[in-house]
Amino acid sequence: MHLNTQRWRGLWARWQLPAWRVVLFRTFLYSGLWWVLTEGAGSVWLGVLLALAIALFAPLNNAPWSTHLRWWKLPTFIGFMAKRSVSGAIDVAKLALSRHCDLNTHTRTYYFRLLTCPSQQLLMANLVNLTPGTLTLCMRDNTLHIHILNHPEIAAQLRELESRIAELYGWNHGY
């Protein structure tokens, strides 16, 4: 009990009021989520109050969707990922249903060039799993260990993905 009280005091001491624009955006986002989850039938005031409480107190400072994220670039990025994801799914489906099921598998280490923040690297590690022929085996020391299925050259594909994620955070680099 004493430990719990100390823990809460420690958390309260570390708490800082987020910027008003961040609070406003998060409240709007979580209220929208409340509306979707209750299928539009829940109490609006309860939803807004809950959203405000989460916006003020949830420790989201380390999340990949930080204040640096360029939200207006998201639709283009989602379109890019959807195209890649469908292409990857068609490749795997063709391979699984082919008569011989000839596999060419190997592993490769990819070194991050642009993404330095661990949360952004984690985002790329997740997205690599949705792109054609690649699967993240593990992530350590600024590198991704990747399993490759029937895609001999994936370096350019991974560099492009990293550049696209970097663009989302406002760094413009060619690929």
Partner: protein, 106 residues
Amino acid sequence: MSDLLGTALILLGLPFFIASTVGLLRFPDVYARLHALTKADNVGLGLICLGLAVQADSLAVGLKIVLIWGLILLASSTGATLISTSALRHGHPPQQRNDVDKHAGH
């Protein structure tokens, strides 16, 4: 019209699910099988969710179905890396195969 579009999307999603299951049975190791699960399964599920969202009674229900797909996509992608990291730690190195080149020129 929405019923027709919804049915078409669901029918389009089914082959991906079937291919993913066949891949799970035919691929040789856990890593190759995860390729089938993370790619074909997610696209299949996405098409089915879109098909259901198109036929939903209200916008909130449609968005809820799309949200469910997004969360499953996130969980599936993260889970795949966690499974492969765990498999590596437990001493299952990925197979290095080159069946494609072996058959080239035949």
